[in-house]
């Protein structure tokens, strides 16, 4: 049935007054942190895994984690932190963060599995930086593919922090090779983080997000 003339006229008026392209469904969750969002083409990929690899001992990974949590908090977005070695030290009251304090990598993976399957929280952060190598080597590669399938189903996002790449199916791999010095302890976090250099070592094309 053809649209009525009034509708056509209304469309014209709207097109003149708001000359924007209609926005496509977003493929990512913006964190609210401009630097990070620009690196990740808009934010954490929906239905995908992002890996932050920090091979150095004191490379600033925790500062990045705090910044992401703070940005999500500012945007009133819920997030969950699966803390693989119970090492997170919350800097302030974080009313939008669900913190799961695990004791080992296996427990952290089980918790992540539950959270991803639940699908209520858009962003899950899995911090495995302090987990020993022996624990990480025991994680079967299929685990990450299983997570990928769940993420695709629920359209949420997983952000992993490790010292070495562990998820071979990640959409983005970011590497931080900074080294914090003792003088940086008295610098403002805001200034410190601007000095960090991120290198994207892998960027997979995202598949079109299909809305039901």
């Amino acid at each position: 049935m053809p649209a009525s003339p009034k509708i056509i006229e209304l469309r014209k008026v709207l097109a003149e007054r708001f000359p924007y392209e209609p926005s496509l469904p977003s493929l990512s969750f913006p964190t609210g942190w401009a630097l990070f969002d620009s690196l990740l083409d808009g934010g954490f990929p929906r239905g995908g895994i992002t890996q932050l690899i920090t091979p150095n001992i004191s490379s600033g990974g925790t500062l990045v984690l705090h910044e992401i949590i703070q940005s999500l908090h500012k945007a009133s977005r819920h997030a969950v932190l699966v803390d693989g070695k119970d090492c997170f030290d919350p800097p302030t009251h974080q009313p939008f963060l669900l913190w799961i304090r695990c004791t080992n990598a296996l427990q952290a993976l089980k918790a992540t599995d539950l959270i991803l399957r639940d699908g209520n929280l858009p962003v899950a952060i899995l911090d495995l930086k302090l987990n020993p190598e022996i624990e990480l080597r025991k994680i079967p590669g299929t685990t990450w593919y299983r997570f990928q399938r769940i993420l695709e189903e629920n359209k949420n996002s997983l952000f992993i922090m490790t010292r070495h790449p562990i998820a071979h199916n990640s959409t983005y791999n970011m590497i931080m090779t900074n080294q914090i010095k003792i003088d940086d302890l008295s610098s403002l976090s805001l200034h410190l983080i601007q000095l960090f250099a991120f290198k994207i070592s892998r960027r997979r094309a995202q598949q079109d997000y299909r809305y039901a």
Binding site: I57, S76, H78, D89, F96, I100, K110, I115, L185
Partner: protein, 522 residues
Amino acid sequence: MPKSENSLFAVIYVPFYGLQSARIKSLNRAACFGDTSSEQASFDLSESRSKHEINVSLADDQSWGVPAALLDSDGIHLIELNHAAEVAGVQLGTSTSQALARCPDLVLYARSIPQEQRLEESLLQVVYRYSPFIENSGPGICTLDLRGKRVRKHLPWLQELLAQIHSLGLRAQAGIGSNPEIALQAAMIANPILEIDSTLRQSLPLESLTSSHYLLDILKSWGIRTLGALAQLPREEIAQRLGLEGLSLWDRATGRSSNMLRLVKPPETFDESIDFEQNLETLEPVLFILRRFLEKLSLRIESVYLLIGELRLTLTLENGEQIARTLQIPAPTREIETLFRIAFQYLETLQTTAPIIGFQLQAIPSRPNDHQFDLFQGGLKDPNRFFQTLARLAALVGNDRVGIPQKIDTHRPDTVRLQMPELDWGEEKAQIGSSPRIGPGLRRYRPGIVADVELSHGKPVAVHSPMMTGRILELRGPWKLSGNWWDLSRWEIQEWDIELDNGGLYRLVQSMDRWEVVGMYD
């Protein structure tokens, strides 16, 4: 005062009420043990089986073709028969052996008065949705006063009502008439709905309104056999000749009625229970009954426009022990799947000391939670599922190890409390801290790593511990902290920030003579 001609009543009539009640109970039990024999329609435990399918099998028209009878409480005589049994020649009051001799295919049901009472409550609750003026006129008979019901066509809502009663497992009929007696007559002969208007009313026999042989004999001797013929007689003459009883009959025959309904309010308890004939040692039969009970309770609670806010499960064991559990529903709902999942999560982890012989489910109604998120705030998609996940996470990592981090008002380092999210999680406005953060973040070692520290002039110069060892290139400190000096929980520490030759930045803490690496700057 006699009511006006415009009064209208509806009667919901459940034929063979006792028989139907006993049959439902019997079918529930049979379904628990997978007995799909005889006339009982097939049941399966698959979740895919819809509510409609299951309930159709309860009030299945085909199964009514099988001769069935209800036994008295002694289990000796028949007190109710269905049409098929009557056609087969079985008579009321006969003994079971006589009845079975007459009709070997006769299915006998034991009477269950508690089940009848429960169904009566359910019936009233469902009917109450359609009129606030209802009377419990007898077993399986419910009269509705339709005053104030501004609908011209009664067929649609009566069909809906009968469908809901069908969901309870009962087959009912409905009649509409200008007074309760005529409406009851209509309901008894309806298939399944009949409205008796003034024309049809006039052709009804006198017996439909009175059973008084005295009145009937007199009227028949006058040649009056129908209500229409009676209505044509003058009211005053009837009053003079037949008295008050005759006057009452005339009023009812003409559509007036002096009979007031004894109004009842349906009970506000919503529970279902079953006693199993055999002891249950597996979960599946309980799950089957659980789903069926949830369907019924959901329907009953829907009729009062509320949601289910709490489920109370009671399992009776063979050794007399009772296991009772109250399950809170974070976001009250009537969704069967959600409620089933919550109850299932509890039942699947339950271990009993003896087989189960009884199961009761009570639903506590609740009003819906009001939530108004602001434009840019994201709520939880499925709060009930989220709280189930939280329970699973708590079971995995421990109750005190999952939640929202909250700082405690103390200067003592690493004091954080976790609070479980509530349903309105996220309604709190984001408050941006005004004080800027200093330095990198700290990753804590919990517990701290005990270290041997070499000192020179009172300052650490090297650290030896299982996780990090090396010479200290640079350090800051000591930062002295203390607190609670006024009570027994007094504490006093000295903190040092150190940079080791491996490139790592650590926080070293001295408490008394003990040194610990409590975290890594990252």
